[in-house]
């Protein structure tokens, strides 16, 4: 294998930068087809209502479409096989009822988006308002209305991991019980969603361009809803301006536009604007925990019990469904800790809000917040340093691989070392001394930790039990060495910022010795790539990376077989390096392009028994275990809290991260920094509040605050590299980690600062108002 200058382990600058830095990216809104028309949607202004009538403006019958017009189009049904799961039917255009502000009611089409909006403004909507289901606890216990009347309640799914905690309740020296809430948020990539659809006459195929993380899954969903075979559909995801989970969904807008382009015989386009995004699609992170932890006098966890609720919105999104996050809570709440007993009941609840999507970190951000706040509460009661309580409870490196209390198989790692290093980097003693000295400006200093481990790239046996429309199993890569020696790789996953065009080329370099500049990645197109469930859950480096490596190994074998004949040596005497095949111990060499030239242009020179599949292959990959990899990180933060205004400044932020073997450490750092910035948004700035009628209240970026460069500090990061025993290079999925720990680390730091005042915040985001009001209440 080649060294680390351009292969696995290299901080290789990205190939895709070239076009982005010159404004040559091809995002969905840049795609323009001849005769294309623009679509604007009429969206429900009401969170819950019965549709009495929808009035098309006179003269615009051919430009306005409602549910009744879309004959034969099926509603979106994301099922789950989990026992008791209730299926929701989401009509692509509202039928009978509207169930969230922003639900699609009518589709208007015109030459420009502005004109389509003019038409939409003229559509008359007559709705009978129904009580809105807004609070997830009330939705279950005292519902003001039923989101889906046929259900009899507002619960998609209830789950229970049961255990007997009698004994530990008795023996516990410390019992800590907290009610913890995390606000609804909006994933907010810089680019919204967008769809362009056309009908290709030659191929008799619907071609849909969509900014999606999972084109093959969108294709499957479109097929189900439109009632046409998948071969009649091609989904192409172009350059995507950020995803983070927001673009892992089958959209009603996609189905509507697919129907419309057939109806009109012309390409059609819809580009989501920011107001649509914010008002109709705030769709993540809203959890409620009633959590109790039992510990002994040394801070060792005896057990945890919890009742958790996830606000899952009005419909199950396809493919993840409304079961994902709530059921995930119970299996991951114990985090990286050991304990004797564990009991957790969860509810996934329906409300009149947007369908939940798995935002970077998924349920891990919420459970980390809940558990890590409780760990710190235990530390305060026992007057122990919070990092010491963690050290007393983490799974030890000598115990790896470790099967935890919810049967999660932790593959490898040194969790305590991450905490020790973070404690050193943040300088606990220094912060404690500073706290004693006090600040000249009167602000209060605090220190907080959070540690988590993150399961990624898990496979069939884990997902099949969920019964959702998408089970990730194997991953394939098609590889072809072209006649001029360029390697083409085709994978079904897709980039939305993580630089797969570069990292997959690095993998190829490590196996084949080919210069990454001579590797071309084709992805995002169902017409050109093998099936994949797509890019989500931090799976690409393990799964697509493994498939690329496997395919390259096969190409390497084919190349060596041909070279062996040409050099008249044995294949084992050949070395692949620097884009060449060399006879070991000699200077006899040929370039990959010369070998390719022989295959394509001079077959008379090939060995008689040459593999007729030639320099082209499709290889499959599956990790050694289905339970995935576990990366982990410890975050620590020092904050200054202005108790008068409630403002929090992050003075120092450190991360000790272990993602196993890092294919491109520069890209890994970028993922961690970016995730951490989002986590800081979750911790301090981002909230989508709803009023009692279910109206979203932060519908522009002036109200929904995204952290900018003065809100995100300079972050210090250190790495541990414990390879996974189960993946091709030992790499682990790390894309989400940064977004998991910050709310917990920052809340713990704020609570540490406010502890002398007897104030503890258990709700995120830690907005200035929330902090200042808590301080004012204590003082009163």
């Amino acid at each position: 294998m080649e060294g680390t200058k351009k292969g696995v382990g290299a901080r290789l600058p990205r190939k895709e930068d070239r076009r982005f830095l010159r404004g040559q990216g091809e995002y969905i809104a840049n795609i323009r087809l001849p005769e294309m028309l623009d679509v604007a949607f009429v969206r429900s202004p009401m969170a819950h209502g019965r549709i009495r009538s929808i009035g098309k403006p006179p003269g615009f019958d051919a430009s306005v479409f409602i549910a009744a017009d879309l004959a034969g189009v099926e509603p979106i049904r994301a099922v789950s096989g989990l026992k008791g799961f209730k299926i929701s039917e989401q009509p692509v255009l509202a039928t009978g009822k509207v169930r969230l502000v922003g639900e699609l009611v009518a589709m208007c089409v015109a030459a420009t988006r502005a004109q389509a909006e003019d038409i939409a403004d003229k559509v008359e909507l007559d709705l009978e308002e129904l009580p809105a289901v807004v609070d997830m606890i009330a939705a279950r216990t005292q519902p003001p209305a039923l989101v889906h009347e046929e259900w009899g309640d507002n619960v998609y799914l209830e789950s229970l991991v049961d255990d007997d905690l009698q004994a530990i309740k008795r023996d516990a020296a410390v019992t800590v019980r907290r009610t913890i809430r995390t606000a609804r948020q909006h994933i907010s990539p810089m680019e919204g969603r967008g769809v362009v659809c056309e009908w290709n006459r030659r191929l008799e195929q619907l071609v849909m361009y969509s900014a999606t993380q999972m084109p093959h899954i969108n294709r499957a969903g479109l097929s189900e809803c439109l009632g046409i075979d998948q071969g009649s559909i091609r989904v192409i995801s172009p350059d995507v301006g950020g995803g983070f989970g927001y673009k892992g969904i089958l959209l009603p807008e996609e189905i509507c536009l697919a129907w419309l382009c057939r109806k009109l015989g012309r390409p059609v386009r819809w580009i989501e604007d920011r107001r649509e995004q914010l008002s109709a699609n705030a769709n993540c992170r809203e959890h409620h925990y009633d959590i109790t932890a039992y510990a002994d006098a040394k801070g060792r966890l005896l057990g945890i019990e919890c009742e958790a609720t996830v606000d899952s919105g009005a419909y199950s999104s396809y493919p993840f469904s409304a079961c994902l996050e709530a059921a995930q809570v119970s299996s991951i709440l114990p985090g990286p800790y050991k304990m004797e007993r564990y009991r957790c009941r969860t509810w996934s609840v329906a409300t009149n809000k947007a369908p939940i999507l798995p935002y970077r970190g998924v349920a891990r951000t919420g459970v980390c917040f809940a558990l890590e706040l409780v760990i710190d509460a235990i530390a305060r009661e026992l007057k122990m340093e919070p990092h010491a309580v963690r050290l007393a409870n983490l799974v030890q490196p000598g115990e790896m691989p470790y099967l935890n209390i919810t049967k999660k198989h932790f593959d490898s790692g040194d969790y305590p070392e991450a905490v020790r290093r973070a404690a050193k980097m943040i300088d606990v003693a220094g912060v404690r001394a500073r706290q004693k000295r006090g600040e000249p400006d009167g602000r209060r200093i605090g220190l907080g930790f959070a540690i988590f481990c993150e399961q990624a790239a898990h496979g069939t046996s884990v997902y099949f039990g969920w019964g959702i429309p998408m089970v990730p199993g194997h991953e394939q890569c098609s590889a072809r060495l072209s006649p001029d020696g360029v390697l083409e790789l085709r994978i079904g996953a897709h980039s939305h910022g993580q630089g797969l065009e570069t990292t997959m080329a690095q993998v190829a370099h490590s196996i084949l010795g080919i210069d990454p500049e001579n590797v071309r990645l084709v992805h995002g197109d169902t017409g050109l790539t093998p099936y994949s469930t797509g890019t989500w859950g931090s799976r690409c480096m393990v799964m697509s990376g493994g498939a690329v490596a496997t395919a390259c190994e096969q190409i390497a074998g084919r190349v060596k077989a041909i070279a062996a004949k040409l050099f008249e040596v044995s294949a084992i005497d050949l070395v692949l390096e620097r884009g060449e095949v060399r006879v070991a111990g000699t200077d006899r060499r040929m370039t990959l392009s010369e070998i390719a030239h022989v295959w394509y242009r001079k077959p008379q020179l090939l060995p008689a028994d040459v593999d007729p599949a030639g320099l082209e292959t499709t290889a499959g990959y599956k990790a050694k275990v289905d339970t995935g990899t576990f990366s982990y990180a410890c975050h620590a933060a020092t904050v200054a809290v202005d108790t008068e205004t409630g403002h929090v400044e992050i003075l120092d932020y450190v991360i000790v991260e272990d993602g196993g073997t890092l294919v491109n450490p520069m890209i890994v750092d970028g993922q961690v920094f970016g995730g951490t910035a989002q986590g800081i948004g979750t911790a301090l700035y981002e909230e989508m509040p709803f009023d009692e009628q279910g109206q979203p209240l932060a519908t522009t970026l002036a109200d929904y605050l995204l952290p900018g460069p003065t809100e995100v500090p300079s972050i210090r990061i250190d790495h541990i590299e414990t390879p996974s025993p189960y993946t091709f290079f030992g790499q682990k999925g790390i894309g989400e980690g940064g977004a998991i720990a910050p709310p917990a680390a920052i809340a713990n730091a704020v609570n540490d600062a406010l502890a002398p005042l007897g104030v503890e915040i258990t709700e995120s985001p830690l907005m200035p108002r929330r902090i200042a009001e808590a301080v004012m209440r204590k003082r009163a």
Partner: protein
Amino acid sequence: MKAVAFDYARPRDVAEAVRLLAEGGDRAKCMAGAQSLGPMLNLRLVQPELIVDLRHIEELRATEDSADAVTFGACVTHSEIEDGRVPDPTRGLMREIATNIAYRAVRNRGTIGGSLAHADPAADWPSVLNLLGATVIAAGLGGRKNFPIGKFLTGLFETALQPGEILVGICVPKLPARARCGYWKFCRKTGEFPQAIGGALDDPERGAARAVIGATRGAPYVIGDARALINSPDEARLLAAADAAGLEGDSYSRKLHAVALRRAIERLAA
């Protein structure tokens, strides 16, 4: 998010602008930097039939530096003030205020006159100009009028401008050598609109001691005689001022404005 259709006019001088606006009545809106109007148009929060573009009227871009005041044309941009490309009658205060308005790209287009005419309580110029005792010059079909700033800003997005009138200039008296000013605002993040604004002015030469509470639900609240407050900004006085500014309903908001005012007083500097 596309605006409704509107017509566009680019008057060459104030007289033409006034005539167009008077004819248009409430179907017409004038536009300077469009940094506030632009979002409102895209969001369809306003749906005018005619936009009258004032940016190209030379008179409105000019600044006049006289012995005891500087008169800014309404279309002088925040970045011109920030960069010192126009005179600063306040020995640096206006430059510093301008530097902290929104973001550079906004400051390059946004104008001081536009900010005042829009009268967003959370903008900086309404509060600062109240503190400085500025005078607003308006032009209408009947000619020109002067307004003391306190009479010009009348409420939430409300000014004394009548239909058909435009703001043409802002006259800011030069700060005497011994005058001290303090300004403090609380923003949840850099560049966004503040949640609370406090300002204080101590001008012994002219015997003026003024304070202002901004980012309220209406026009900036001015304390004309703030001598006692400036001398001893105790909590009771500060909260009373916040109450008088209309903030008594919300204890956090009240506290925040009181804190902003106190911190402005603490920052009184020459």
